[in-house]
């Protein structure tokens, strides 16, 4: 975020050549951990892009009809099949958890320990709900006979793309939930106020860690936006 030492530096487009050509740090005012998280997320973007592009290619090149996702992912509500209901709820749950994460980051920077911690817990619970619903969705589809090599609804490739893409995303959510709980504990214990050293890194940290954690969590939400659009809606 903003830093008083940045005020004398060029702003706007002029800052790009001057930052890139400057001494010591390229990303001015960005803590190193945050820059590393961004670079990791960039590489992760490429991984998810490769999955989604291979899905696009597979779907575009099959001569068999693609399963109608609207029906495949429908859910009975009071005896009436509602198209994509579970996926819609999952989307809203993930966006809700993204919102609580954004507030956790805000309260972290305000050094409001309690609010920050509780919003992180709320985010983790949202993530758990999401993973739980995904597990339900997987078991439902497996019971209906969807396999990575075939399925009763249409083109055989559907299953492999579905399990690969949603599985990889679900793994990201699960890892995020684990880290959210770890950082909730750190916040409540006051690690970022007292400068207590991390047990793994042995380094002191402050509330910028919450922003870094938030970047990861928002990225998980961001990937879901693309999966929702391309896999479920298209």
């Amino acid at each position: 975020m903003s830093d008083s030492s940045l005020e004398n530096l060029p702003k706007g487009w002029k800052s790009v050549p001057s930052d890139l050509g400057s001494d010591q740090t390229t990303f001015k005012g960005v803590q190193w951990g945050k820059a590393m998280m961004w670079i990791f997320l960039l590489s992760d973007t490429f991984i998810f892009s490769c999955f989604l592009i291979s899905y696009m290619k597979g779907r575009a090149s099959t001569v068999v009809d693609w399963p109608n996702t609207s029906q495949v992912f429908s859910l009975d509500f009071m005896g009436v099949p509602v198209p994509l209901l579970l996926i819609a709820i999952m989307t809203f749950v993930l966006i809700t958890s993204s919102g609580t994460m954004a507030l956790a980051v805000k309260y972290g920077y305000e050094k409001n320990r309690k609010m920050c911690g509780w919003f992180i817990v709320a985010t983790a619970l949202g993530g758990l709900t999401f993973v739980g619903m995904q597990a339900y969705e997987w078991s439902k589809l497996i019971h209906e006979g969807v396999r990575p090599w075939s399925n009763p609804f249409g083109a055989g490739q559907f299953g492999s793309y579905f399990f690969m893409i949603t599985g990889f995303h679900g793994t990201h959510v699960s890892i995020g939930v684990i880290f959210l709980f770890i950082f909730a504990r750190k916040v409540f214990r006051g690690d970022f106020d007292t400068g207590r050293r991390g047990f793994f890194t042995t380094m002191k940290s402050d509330y910028v860690s919450i922003e870094i954690l938030g970047l990861y969590w928002h990225f998980v939400d961001l990937v879901w936006v693309f999966i929702f659009a391309f896999f479920y809606l298209w």
């Binding site: 001015k28 973007t45 490429f46 291979s54 575009a60 609207s70 989307t91 954004a102 961001l222």
Partner: protein, 116 residues
Amino acid sequence: MSENMELEKNKQKPATTHKIGIYLWIWGLLFVLSFFSYMVDWYQFQGILRWSLILFFMFLKAGLIMAFFMHLFWERYTLVNVLLWPMTAIACFVGLMVAEGKYTVFTRLIYFVLGE
């Protein structure tokens, strides 16, 4: 030692945060946009209208998340450029694979269907 100094410096620095309103607004917008993209399926729009609406809502949501939730809107341009220019490589890859997919389905139709 330098770590300690940095920690001290951060403590003295006034908190630079954004007003809660901006987050709540973006949050609400994301809900509304998700609802609209769900409605695209609900009303079973087909063809170009469906695809363009899906892409429109998707990019709008992605942009809002990146700009405000991930704070890119407030970051210096160097970071923004380093993160966004690689996306053109992905766009190129998509273009290549669209052409490749069309070619594959063309050959499959020729040899699977007409070849029999």
